[in-house]
């Protein structure tokens, strides 16, 4: 293995000329390092440049600026058929005029592999995706999920350094999608091949990935493990895009080594003991963010810091959780409380207008750069 990184994008820019004639930066100075053997996802809303980034790694598009490295080597204008990278296309792009066997064998034939070897490797690849016995079918005689597996087998049979997957589960129904998520993840762990996975489904990205790059408008907003991305989003966009959050405007009042004090006008209070994030200075205007499930509602007065009094304005019961909407001072706050106990007893439920005490636990209350 050449180096630590399977794929590296260094300051990559891709400009398109739109049909209207203007220039559009589909990928805007993206730098990311994808480690060998990891399951790496690009996550972002529609049009943020995920597919374009993936296509540049595959070799279907060339960067306007910057350089892409695969296994430590700059790929420049190397055509796709000379890259040790394979793609699972969003629409699968199976060859309709070939059988399942022929589809999977295609890549090996192009390598000039011997007939016997092709047979063996195709059989193994089909077994891997549980399609043994379907060799002689045509793609149209398969269900969507089976076609998806053929697409995976066709790419994996080449034993690429990197497998690129562009929303490969987008066309499947929810149940099958969840099954395939686990299968793909297991396959990746078993083979140890680097997967670069594009999705706009955050749950999918969190479920499958070792690391995630959250993208927006052609730029990478944060790269990290699912836990890092969720628990320590590095800016408001990421906090908002992944999961849900309450946001308040605030101002840093004091900044110590590992603790900060932030004043929030809407709460008319100082929040103390907040974890410090890099790149922020004393006095800076920031956004305070707290996830709804991190807020605690307590019955009795405690000695906690960051304790507030709120009034219930609405409650929504959704089975696993109860969503409680509150007015706290001049702010609105939503709190998700898990239904650990049965809510059948009306006494266990909040009523509209009820006054409650809330704790914003400092370790889960973040202040982020405004953007």
């Amino acid at each position: 293995m050449a180096g630590e990184f399977a794929v590296e994008l260094r300051d990559v820019v891709k400009n398109f000329i739109t049909p209207e004639g203007s220039e559009l930066a589909a990928v805007d100075h993206v730098t990311m390092q994808i480690r060998n053997g990891e399951f790496f996802s690009m996550l972002g809303s529609s049009g943020c440049g995920k597919t374009t980034s993936l296509r540049m790694i595959a070799g279907f598009e060339w960067p306007t600026e910057g350089e892409i490295y695969i296994e430590g080597k700059a790929v420049g204008h190397t055509p796709p058929f000379q890259r040790k990278v394979n793609t699972v296309f969003q629409n699968y792009a199976l060859f309709q005029h070939m059988t399942v066997f022929e589809n999977v064998a295609f890549g090996l034939e192009m390598e000039g592999a011997a007939k016997e070897e092709i047979k063996k490797r195709v059989a193994k690849a089909l077994e891997m995706v549980q399609l043994t016995g379907m060799e002689r079918r045509r793609p149209r005689q398969l269900s969507g999920g089976q076609q998806q597996r053929v697409a995976v087998a066709r790419a994996l049979v080449k034993i690429p350094d990197v497998l690129l997957l562009d929303e490969p589960l987008g066309a499947l129904d929810l149940k099958l999608r969840k099954e395939m998520q686990l299968e793909l993840k297991a396959l990746q762990q078993q083979l140890g091949i680097t997967f670069v996975y594009v999705t706009h489904d955050q749950e999918e990205a969190l479920t499958m990935s070792d690391r995630i790059a959250v993208m927006s408008k052609g730029a990478v907003r944060q790269i990290g493990t699912p836990v890092e991305i969720y628990e320590r989003p590095s800016n408001r966009f990421v906090a908002d895009f992944i999961g849900e959050a309450n946001f308040f405007d605030g101002r840093i009042k004091s900044l110590a080594k590992d603790e900060a004090l932030v004043y929030v006008p809407a709460l008319n209070a100082d929040l103390t003991g907040l974890p410090v994030s890099d790149g922020l200075v004393n006095g800076e205007e920031v956004v305070v963010s707290i996830r709804p499930e991190k807020v605690r509602i307590t019955a009795e007065e405690t000695m906690n810091t960051n304790l507030f009094r709120g009034k219930v304005t609405n409650t929504v019961y959704i089975g696993t959780d109860t969503h409680v909407y509150l007015d706290v001072c001049n702010a609105k706050l939503k709190v998700y409380e898990q239904n650990r106990i049965s809510r059948l007893d009306p006494g266990s439920f909040y009523t509209v207008g009820q006054e409650v005490l809330l704790i914003l636990p400092p370790e889960n209350t973040l202040f982020l750069k405004k953007d």
């Binding site: 058929f81 394979n86 296309f89 060859f95 309709q96 005029h97 149209r140």
Partner: protein, 307 residues
């Protein structure tokens, strides 16, 4: 009653097909039956049909003639078989040439930028706005001894200082072939273009991704997926070329007589509709046989459907 109509799919189908069925039976089946009946008849001295049942016309088509030079009752000269064979070979050659010329052009148009694509298609169709006969006459102007091609060649020869004899191109089998290829090229380009255009770009990318260069992508992906267009085009070209007489009439003169000319002359010049009818039926049967075996092998140019 309308309720039942709404529910009964097969009645609906029949109703929808009815206008076409009437059209076909009045304008296709009836004339065909009439032709069949006439072909068994005999020509009267003044060129009318005497309805009887005789196989004379078919025997004559096989090559056995009654008006023999040596005063024999019957003599053998396979002149009509030669004409049929010539037509078949010409139709085959035309089809092959039209594929060889039409495919690259269709490919070029299908891969062109969408904006230019319509322009190119338009250019393919423009000649069809001019009358068929006039287009063939235009070729006569070009191929004549003192026509455009000879003038251009002479000019070049003069420039290079080579002595030049105008070429005899008109009234040769080559001239007929050129005319046929020209006339029928659009009918090959359009179906091939249609099937090429339907190939999703991601298939080309998938092939490249799996290690195929441009040539292998073409041979393994593009060509097989565009075969339906080639098949449809072949049917659209081969059948009319087998029957047409205008091109050979104008560009072949008396030198290149095809079945089409034979039939036409029986009706108009020789005034023997019974023999013309027999020849027309033989042509039809032959075309049907060729088309039957061709479509058995390649289908009608529909999508490649899984077996």
């Amino acid at each position: 009653m309308f309720q039942r109509l709404r529910e009964n799919k097969s009645v609906q189908g029949t109703l929808l097909a009815l206008p076409t069925m009437i059209w076909l039976s009045v304008l296709l089946i009836l004339p065909l039956l009439l032709t069949l009946v006439i072909s068994f008849g005999r020509r009267s001295p003044d060129g009318n049909v005497i309805f009887t049942f005789t196989l004379d016309n078919y025997i004559r088509l096989l090559g056995y003639h009654t008006n023999c030079a040596g005063g024999q009752a019957r003599c053998f000269d396979p002149i009509y078989a030669t004409i049929l064979w010539r037509s078949l070979v010409l139709a085959f050659n035309t089809t092959v040439l039209v594929i060889l010329l039409g495919y690259p052009l269709a490919y070029f148009i299908a891969r062109a930028h969408p904006k230019k694509r319509n322009l190119y298609l338009f250019m393919v169709l423009i000649p069809l706005w001019t009358n068929f006969v006039i287009r063939v006459y235009a070729w006569m102007m070009l191929l004549r001894k003192e026509g455009g091609i000879n003038i251009a060649l002479g000019w070049f020869a003069n420039l290079l200082g080579i002595p030049f004899q105008p070429l005899e191109m008109l009234y040769t089998p080559g001239a007929v072939l050129v005319g046929m290829v020209y006339e029928f090229l659009p009918f090959m380009i359009l179906p091939i273009f249609t099937s090429l255009e339907k190939i999703d770009n991601s298939l080309y990318e998938a092939a490249a991704d799996l290690g195929a260069n441009a040539i292998r992508t073409f041979l393994r992906v593009t060509l097989p997926l565009s075969m339906p267009g080639v098949v449809a085009g072949t049917i659209l070209v081969f059948i009319p070329v087998m029957g047409t007489f205008i091109v050979s009439d104008i560009l072949g003169g008396r030198q290149v007589i095809l079945v089409g000319n034979l039939i036409q002359r029986q009706y108009l010049d020789a005034r023997d509709p019974t023999f013309g009818a027999a020849a027309a039926l033989i042509l039809m049967v032959m075309t049907l046989i060729v088309t039957y075996f061709y479509t058995r092998r390649f289908g009608f140019g529909e999508e490649i459907v899984a077996v």
